[in-house]
């Protein structure tokens, strides 16, 4: 069902999800799902509530162990990594997959700057010689620390929070917190950025700013983005490829325009029959 440059994408995909399934006891949350996300592309995962989208995210980012299927992550010019075999933190550390959460998970008692510093933990740990170089104040450590602060400053400026760098993250307004979470994820310098409803609760202006931010991330950092979103304006504007889920299965896939006009997708969102949806569309209303 992919009408865009399929052959190109298969050569340059970053994530290949194959026959993924996830059961919880008797409930099948995700059933035999297969899709791909392209390198340096923005792929959107949409569908009505309860379709299983966050479950897919949790599988990809290692918070759930899938009950079946594979997820292959391929960095440019490197062999594929089997995500289903990695443990949670290693997916971020080794596979370079970062994520944000549906309910923002910042560190509220730490400042914005500190949040971004925590994100660079692994690099800093190495540079501090597993803490010991840091304890004695070695110059190599100080250089590394300054570099980390610089990266954090760069991102704070990028999201427009530089003057709030020393404020507690828990004190920031909602929209700022959302952007800070994205900046924090970017500080891990990921290859794949997974965003869980980044536009939730944002007004039109903030959504537009978010779209701009994501597009610039794709352009300047070359990060591939996978996002779950309900806000169709954001999805339509920035996605290169859209995957639609309902009741744990994929029901449609393609470019934003294709998906928007697909009667199956409309039916799923409206909770109506496919025939009814076609009828409505053809009647022009």
């Amino acid at each position: 069902m992919s009408g865009d440059r399929a052959s190109d994408r298969i050569n340059q995909r970053i994530l290949a999800v194959d026959h993924l399934s996830m059961r919880f006891g008797g409930i099948v949350a995700v059933n035999d799902l297969s899709f791909e996300a392209g390198q340096r592309q923005i792929t959107a995962l949409i569908g009505p509530n309860g379709a299983g989208k966050t479950t897919v995210f949790n599988c990809i980012t290692g918070f759930y162990k899938p009950t079946g299927g594979t997820m292959r992550l391929t960095h440019e010019g490197a062999p594929a990594i089997a995500l289903e075999r990695l443990n949670d933190f290693r997916i971020s550390k080794q596979a370079k997959v970062a994520r944000t959460f549906q309910n923002i998970r910042l560190f509220p008692g730490m400042t914005a700057l500190e949040n971004l510093m925590v994100a660079q933990h692994n690099a800093l740990m190495l540079a501090s010689g597993l803490t010991f170089l840091g304890l004695i104040g070695a110059p190599s450590w100080r250089v590394a620390e300054q570099r980390a602060i610089d990266l954090a400053t760069f991102w704070l400026k990028r999201i427009g929070l530089l003057d709030r760098a020393d404020d507690a993250a828990g004190n920031l307004p909602y929209g700022d917190q959302r952007r800070l979470e994205i900046a924090r994820a970017m500080c891990t310098e990921p290859a794949l950025l997974c965003l869980d409803e980044p536009a939730a609760g944002l007004n039109a202006r903030e959504s537009a700013a978010l779209s701009e931010l994501l597009l610039s991330i794709r352009a300047e950092q070359g990060t591939s983005i996978l996002l779950i979103e309900h806000d169709m304006s954001v999805v339509m504007e920035i996605s290169d490829h859209v995957v639609v889920m309902d009741y744990g299965v994929k029901i449609a896939e393609g470019s934003p325009q294709q998906v928007r006009d697909d009667p199956k997708v409309i039916a799923a969102y409206l909770g109506a029959d496919e025939e009814e949806a076609i009828a409505v569309m053809e009647s022009g209303t």
């Binding site: 730490m110 507690a168 891990t188």
Partner: protein, 443 residues
């Protein structure tokens, strides 16, 4: 984002004139409940009689006075509550807050200077010096536990286990192998931190209350093993004859090879006390310095991030397992150091000193201090241990008051004395973060 907190038990605001009838009614109800509660336990006093059977006598006078005290006290509490507003709702005016925080910046250095001069000022008062050593020991224990509970948010109710491991390690190494204190000290720390890791492994996936009770069980297991493994630890009799510390080999004795002779001054037993005082002060300051530095390093920041949100940590690629284990190991190490010091100061140790009450006391110090705050912990230790000293002669009521104090503390000021957290890195200006925002951690 946040859930609805429908709270049927929130106190109603005072409505106009405090209905004195209502206050009286509260008092009467409390007195009535007290009467029933105390009727048997206080009114009647049992004891094993001279021939082994149980006898009893009545204490209705005590019962009456206690019930009356509850009546009066309950009325007083009601009046205070109505006058002062609901607990925790009081707003400190900004000017006072500013003044306090400016004064706060001087408290720590002033306190340090004062502590350094204590042996000089109170040279002749052995009692004060001993008290000072005791306070400093608990300050160090508090700073050590602070790493685990305050920074990493891991609820440890068995900290006394590491204290015991340190003490017994030093005692056994010193009495069996004749090793000097300065060699045994790092060894005690290493052994204690090994136990810290051993404790850490099983509790990695536990949260909150479960983590707490497992650490409690761990502490008790250590104590029971010490009591029962008589061949190794001497059982309930403990280990005695633990050698006193020397200044890097120079003993503090009256003999010709003693330090006093070397310095050409007259020997006095106070020398050893002063030496011990500065020793524990040095150990405590070491703990403090290491903690402050670690907070600014990635590991310390990871500990605090772990406390704030463990799931987010994992999503950022932080290995929460090693983070937790290093927190336990570091806290345990300091506990071990303190234990070694305790052994050498006393000259004798027994399992009696390592009960759950000690763990609870150190935890109370950390919580009272405002978890994560170095100064707060020091002040809390001073308050608690000083407070305990006031109960000389009334020791049987000590735990009663301590328990009540813990309950009151949790109701009135659960975040502790110091109500804020200092950030470890800043671009322009370090702003203290109110402790309302700081998570307390779930383990």
């Amino acid at each position: 984002m946040t859930g609805v907190s429908g709270s049927p038990s929130e106190p109603k605001p005072a409505a106009g004139a405090p209905g004195f009838g209502a206050v009286l009614k509260t008092g009467a109800t409390s007195a009535f409940v007290a009467l029933i509660l105390f009727s048997l336990m206080i009114g009647i006093r049992t004891e094993a009689g001279p021939t082994g059977q149980l006898i009893y006598w009545t204490r209705f006078g005590d019962l009456a006075s206690l019930v009356a005290a509850v009546f009066v006290g309950s009325i007083a509490v009601e009046l205070v509550r109505q006058w002062w507003g609901p607990a925790g709702g009081r707003v400190v005016p900004a000017s006072v807050q500013n003044g306090l925080s400016i004064a706060g910046r001087f408290v720590a250095p002033a306190l340090l200077v004062f502590t350094l001069l204590v042996p000089v000022i109170f040279y002749d008062q052995r009692y004060i010096l001993d008290l000072g050593i005791l306070v400093l020991t608990y300050v160090m224990l508090g700073w050590g536990l602070n790493v685990v509970v305050g920074l990493a948010g891991l609820l440890d109710l068995g900290y006394v286990a590491f204290y015991a491991v340190g003490a017994y390690s030093y005692a056994l190494l010193a009495t069996n192998f004749g090793l000097s204190f300065w060699i045994c000290l790092p060894l005690a720390g290493i052994l204690a931190s090994l136990w810290g890791v051993l404790l850490g492994f099983p509790v990695l996936r536990l949260r909150g209350d479960y983590l707490a009770i497992v650490t409690l069980a761990f502490g008790e297991i250590i104590r029971l093993v010490i009591i029962n493994w008589q061949s190794l630890t001497g059982g309930p009799n403990g280990i005695s004859g633990i050698p006193r510390p020397s200044l890097f080999g120079i003993p503090l004795t009256p003999g010709d090879d003693g330090l006093a002779a070397m310095l050409g001054i007259e020997f006095s037993p106070t020398h050893r006390i002063v030496f011990l005082f500065y020793l524990i002060l040095a150990l405590a300051l070491l703990t403090n310095w290491v903690t402050i530095r670690l907070r600014r390093l990635p590991i310390g920041r990871a500990w605090e991030a772990l406390r704030e949100d463990e799931v987010a940590c994992r999503a950022l690629g932080i290995n929460t397992t090693t983070t937790k284990l290093t927190a336990f190991a570091t806290g345990a190490m300091f506990g071990g150091f303190a234990g070694a010091f305790f052994a050498t100061r006393q000259g004798f140790i027994s399992p009696e000193s390592f009960t759950f009450q000690e763990s609870a006391l150190v935890l109370a110090i950390v919580v009272l201090g405002g978890m994560g705050s170095q100064l707060g912990v020091a002040l809390a230790a001073l308050a608690m241990i000083g407070g305990f000293e006031l109960f000389r002669g009334l020791e049987q009521y000590r735990m009663l008051v301590f328990g009540l104090a813990m309950v009151l503390l949790m109701i009135w000021r659960p975040r502790g004395l110091i109500g804020h957290r200092a950030p470890t890195v800043y671009l322009k200006h370090a702003q203290a973060i109110s402790s309302d925002l700081v998570k307390e951690g779930h383990g």
